[in-house]
Symmetry: C2
Subunit: 334 residues, 2 copies
């Protein structure tokens, strides 16, 4: 999978801070954004802990395996996007903060997204797929619990995500179903996450074309990121116009995220990146630099970032954090 | 997994017929039941085909892999139980038959159950788990499409099951959510299918006790079979008393199914069984004969069958097929 910056890389919180500071021009904004993100991550981690069976629940092994990857240092970008989208459409009690005032179901929806993301990482890391031994500096699930338990832990997190949405309190049945629709189709085979993984795997054997590149990333990375903001918008009670705008933001941010990810893999050293650089080219992956070249890729990322900002216009100050997150995604150095 | 008779074994339709004929005492009933089941299976297969993306849908490989296992000769016991439960509680237009007169959503719910069951079989067959090369006389999914695609095909069928329930037409949001709750918890880690698989895997290293045996099968086999009749009852608009009765029927049939499965593994030859006999003992599996002995196991199966019949009393002739299915499960010879 390709959500490197927020959840898939091996860099530490310290590295994260350092990264923020490199963006001189945004330093002021980023300082407050960093504090905000840290508080959000803490609240999301607490909710994930509340929503996941304890390690003592029988059978203990599977719950240990689920929790191992669920709490392996993810940056929680999907839950954060979900929560901020709910706030932007007016679903939160306090603009700018949203702490403790989130729209009904937004936290549970965000956690369900993180569970789906985590299950996909566990399965992606398996020997039969990417065969990764480490993720974020920790042994991958199958290296700790074995392949059988890792496969089942992924399945179990998928199941838990569905259970979490079904059991949301204080949200109407229609909205819960809308959330289940977004999550199940966003992670599916047709223009969804699984479809993107398959296209990516098969793409390594094909000619890199713009059409194939777009198809892979719209599905593999884009679908779940778009679902993140749309699910937040649903919890916040978005009208059609707000949903359309949030969808455009989600698509733009998702694409920008992927372009920057591909560019960093080429431009950065492994040390700067906190992971093996140049891995895409070595694996024959279809990337934006490979198809468009570096200069055009940089331009495209900036264009998507601008498109993301434009999509947020109607939301005013309630979308402040979404603006900052879009900038952070494009300006990041690892 | 352990639903050998209806979906996991390698015997053919001919073998099925032969099996039916061995139950002299039920011959008449079973003849008509056999025709009924054949018609049900045909209708369920047609619905599964309608609800699953075509092999031409992009990316084609994953849809080919999904369909390969979905149409590998399953006997569709879960969809059939779901449809008959809906009919028993009064949800079908025509008692005894139900063809074309099924309660709204019952067919989709049944297909979602079959998708979940199929995903669990694909993952169970993987080298890291049971490492089976054949299922029902056909190569297992990973032997045809490779491990990576088999893992993703299982994930994809899980996703499709959720999508199928979300998109049911003509059923209220509350009932759809009730179906999603049954399916997601029935296939989960706490007293659900995945939990049962884990307990079973770990059980091979433990002392066979009655408590452990019950815990394994209530979850691994029982949870989804119970969910099958409960989901049908939901679609049929069951009241509390009907739901309680249907739950008792599901639990009894699920347990009887497992007991008979264990007994056949000991008593039958591989030829009669259509699969390797004595595999449980060889693998050190915890079984009913191992814990209670053969004689007591036979008695327990008959008791569960009687409990299943008793649970159906309130439904009268509308439950005819459920009565027959309970008998078939206990009297089967393979």
């Amino acid at each position: 999978m390709a959500h490197k910056f927020f959840s898939d890389t091996k860099f530490t919180e310290a590295k994260f801070t350092e990264t923020i500071f490199t963006h001189k021009i945004f330093t002021h904004t980023f300082m407050t954004l960093k504090e905000f993100l840290a508080a959000r991550i803490a609240a999301i981690d607490a909710a994930l802990d509340r929503l996941t069976p304890p390690e003592t629940a029988h059978p203990a092994t599977i719950h240990k395996a689920m929790r191992y990857s669920l709490f392996a240092g993810g940056k929680r970008i999907r839950p954060i996007l979900c929560l901020q989208a709910a706030e932007a459409v007016g679903g939160a009690s306090a603009p700018g903060g949203g702490m403790g005032g989130d729209a009904a179901g937004a936290m549970e929806a965000g956690c369900a997204l993180e569970m789906i993301h985590t299950y996909s990482l566990i399965h992606d890391d398996l020997p039969a797929l990417d065969n990764d031994d480490y993720r974020r500096g920790k042994l991958t699930n199958h290296k700790v619990f074995g392949e059988a338990m890792a496969i089942l832990a992924g399945d179990a997190l998928f199941t838990l995500a569905m259970q979490t949405l079904v059991k949301i309190e204080g949200l109407g049945a229609e909205r819960k179903l809308a959330l289940l629709e977004e999550l199940s189709f966003g992670s599916g085979t047709v223009d969804g996450m699984i479809g993107g993984q398959v296209t990516d795997i098969e793409g390594e054997k094909q000619e890199p074309t713009a059409e194939l590149l777009e198809r892979i990333h719209r599905a593999k990375t884009g679908a779940l990121l778009k679902a993140s903001v749309r699910m937040g918008a649903i919890c916040g009670g978005a009208d059609a116009a707000q949903m359309a705008a949030m969808t455009q933001y989600g698509e733009a941010v998702g694409l920008a995220f992927q372009i920057v990810d591909d560019v960093l893999d080429v431009e950065q050293s492994s040390a700067e990146l906190g992971k093996t650089a140049g891995k895409d080219a070595a694996q024959g992956k279809i990337t934006f630099p490979a198809v468009y070249g570096l200069e055009a890729s940089h331009r495209m990322a900036a264009e998507e970032c601008a498109r993301a900002h434009a999509a947020l216009e109607m939301f005013g100050e309630r979308a402040q954090r979404l603006h900052e997150i879009a900038d952070l995604i494009v300006k990041r150095k690892s």
